[in-house]
Structures are given as structure tokens and as C-alpha cells.
Symmetry: D2
Subunit: 137 residues, 4 copies
């Protein structure tokens, strides 16, 4: 691993100041990364459920950080593709936890997947597969 959970959190605060406060890196190790979305009113849709874009953003940031944990701080990696399935309504009033794992770390592409859970639940609310393009050094 090139970066710890603390280093990833600091990277997020420095380079993504706008959204960093929404997220907390719970764990980063060889098995993957767990990222928390602190759910606030601005993430909700009418009815109190977390919005699709907020879940997409959680999956996207979780995979980004899972890649950085392996390759070090490369601010220019960009998402090229995401396929996301929304499976259940998130539980009201709970944070979301994303479990991301990197399945391939190539020279130009990284691929991984993410499961999103309402905290305390064991059935996922969403799953996503993501591809990132890694800039040449």
C-alpha cells in the first residue's frame, strides 16, 4: 500500500475541499477501502432517501481512493466508465458505507467494484463497477 487511511483523508481535504467533509475513510488495506458518506439533508431526495447522484459520488470517490491507496497520489486519474445498480432504498437517517476493491491495476486502466450499504444493514443498497484512466507518468 502506498497511502494509509489518514493520508487518503488528508489528500481528499487538500485536493477536493468542496466534498471532503462529506466523506470519511474508515479503512484502507490490501483487501480494499471503506468510505463513509455522512448523510446530510443535501444528499436526500423527497421522501428522505439518499439521491442517486450522492450514491454515484460515493462509489466514485471510494474507487478513486482505493486506487490511490495502491499507486500513491495521482490527482489526474479520471473516471471513464461506471455501471451502477440501485437495488434497495437506503435506510432513513443512516450514513452509507462503500466497500471498494481494485480488481485490476494496469498501466493505463484500473478497474474495480463497490458495494454500498446503509450502516448496520447487511443487504447492499447499490453496487457499481468503475474504470479509471491513469495518466502516463
Amino acid at each position: 500500500m502506498q497511502m494509509t487511511a489518514e493520508e487518503l483523508q488528508a489528500f481528499l481535504a487538500r485536493d477536493f475541499g468542496q466534498v471532503a467533509a462529506d466523506f470519511r475513510v474508515e479503512r484502507a488495506d490490501a483487501a480494499g477501502l471503506c468510505l463513509r458518506l455522512r448523510v446530510e439533508g443535501r444528499h436526500l431526495r423527497p421522501g428522505g432517501t439518499v439521491s442517486g447522484p450522492a450514491m454515484f459520488g460515493l462509489a466514485d470517490v471510494a474507487m478513486y481512493l482505493a486506487i490511490l491507496a495502491r499507486i500513491g497520489p495521482v490527482a489526474l486519474a479520471v473516471t471513464t466508465n461506471c455501471a451502477i445498480d440501485f437495488m434497495r432504498k437506503p435506510a432513513a437517517g443512516r450514513d452509507l458505507l462503500a466497500e471498494a476493491r481494485v480488481l485490476k491495476l494496469g498501466r493505463v486502466l484500473a478497474v474495480g467494484d463497490v458495494l454500498i450499504f446503509s450502516e448496520g444493514e447487511d443487504q447492499p443498497v447499490a453496487r457499481a463497477g468503475l474504470t479509471y484512466s491513469i495518466p502516463p507518468k
Copy 2:
């Protein structure tokens, strides 16, 4: 068509007050729907490019409204799947325009696709395929 561009805009303002001001329905007809994202600072990532979640949200709302234009106001249709490709960096300081078309309108599922452009450009910045689940009447 069950709803005009004006009716869709009014529906958005009433049921999605939080995000309605971000969007303007430019056109809704048999060929599909065009939705504008008025790009503001909160949609941007460092470097001035529109964020992935903002583009995802634009694609998602555009497809939702394209379906409603065909079936009338069904507030409970939910996104079950989205596959999105990010192809180019959006042009700085421009609104985004999403062109959505419904490819299938079934009893329980609706499927369509969306192309997203920076205003004034003819090469798309993103494309998405989306599936919505339609609640039983």
C-alpha cells in the same frame, strides 16, 4: 405525449424543489427530451470541470423527465441501473445539454439513453444508458 416541456418544468419545481433550479427543460417531443444543467460553482471539480456526480444527475433527471413526458406524472419511478461513459472534459464555463430518448417503455421497466454535450460543441462529453422501474398502477 402526456406532458409538455412547461408541465415537466412545473413538476420538477413542485416535487424536486432542491434541484429544480439547476435544470431547464429545453424541449420535449416524440424524438426525446433536451435538459439543460445551468452549471454553477457547486457542480465543479478542482480545475473547473463539471463533476461526475453532476453529469450523472443530469443524465438521470433527463431520462426521468423523458419517461414522464410519455406516461404522465408518476413520481415513484426509480432508477434501477445506469451505465455511463465519460468521454471528454466538459468545456469550461458552459452549460451542459442532455439529449435523452426512450428506447423501451414496458409495463415494469423503461430503458433509454442520453448524450451529454457542452453547449455549442458537437462532440459529446458523456453517454449513458439508464433503466427505470415503473411502479404498478
Copy 3:
């Protein structure tokens, strides 16, 4: 579980006679299902690598059987969506093994994902997320 590995294999032989000989159900339990593709010349592309359609077919059948293991023999479940990432070249001259798990089993939709490995390797060659539509009883 509604069906064992043996029952699933028998179902495949009876209802999908054309392709049944390609596949062997290695395991079916609460954690998911493992399906083997016995790689033959007809599955290969020039250069000796397994073709994309053969891998897609493996993922599709593995998820189908993983759903049937849970709900019993419902011959009419149909794939509505598949997002597949091809990550590595399969090893030459090896069978492929698909590990499928069901993430959601709803009234009308089932969602799951699949990892595909060359036998004896621990890095996946492909991953897929699939949605099936389940016919009303």
C-alpha cells in the same frame, strides 16, 4: 436453497441442451454458485484467447443458475442488462470458472455479480453485473 448443483445441471441439460455440455455446476450454496466453462476450440478467438461472447455467455448462465438455485426452476427469467469488464487475457488452454452471487432477489428483478477466473489463477479475467427480470407467477 431451492435447487442443488446436481438439480441445476439436470435443468441445464433438459432446457438448454445446446449449451449444457459446455458448462458444469461446480458448487451451489448460500454464498453463490461456481460454474465451469469447458473451453473448446469453438470458444476461442485468433491467438487462442477465449472470445468475449463466450465469457459473456458464461457470466449470463452462471447468474441465471444462481437465481434458480434460490427460487427454483423458472425457465422464463430473462436477462435485461449486463455490464461486463474484460480485464485480463484468459490463460491459454485452461477452463474458466465463474463465481456468481445474487445481491438482490426482488419480486420482479434479480441483481447479481460475477467474477471470471482462468482455472488456477487468482486474478480475475472479467467481472460482470447482471439484472434478470423474473416473470410473474
Copy 4:
């Protein structure tokens, strides 16, 4: 355009002899490429409908040829991602026609989408978005 429909057909026959007889390039121009799948018994599932893998293969080859039409014969371009929606049952006893268009042709990635129709029908049976990795020269 770097290759005509006839040149693409000849390329297919030479480099993909196994499957070339299944396909006919109907058109290749700046707007995209149309590829026919000559439907035979081996492409069918029980009930007489074209199988998912056969449709996946059609989409995949159509996009591959659409890219080659633009960049010339690069036998090593590989599919990295495909998201496909199956929307309707193909009509029995009809060929399938795939309409492919290239949406991005980058240095390392090409992205496009495909609509598949039963010949003579105007509602698509499937749609797909595909990404190809282009080898360095």
C-alpha cells in the same frame, strides 16, 4: 474513413474466419456502420429467440469494425467494457441488424454505442455501449 465496407468484410474473413460467415457489413460511412447477423440455428435459445451471447457478439463485432473503419486495420484493439440492455424479444426467423456509431476515438480508448434491430422492425431489441482499448503504435 480508412476502410470501406468491402475492405472490412475482407478483413473479417481473413482474421476472424470462424465467425466471418455469420456477419455481413451492410454499410460503413461517416455516420457509422451497419452489420447483419445471419441468424442460424446455433444462435437460437429454446423458443426460437436469438441468444444473449449472439447479440453481445453482434454488438461487439459491429463496434470493432466501426472503429477499424476509422483507424484502419488494427487487429489488436480489445474490448474492455460493454454495457448491454436487452429490451425486446427478437422477431422469429429474422436476421438482426446492428447500427454502430463511434462517439469518441481517443489515443488509448474508443467509445461507441450500438442499437440492434430485427430486420424490418423499427423498435430496437437491444442497445449497448462499448469501450475498446487501442494498442500503442
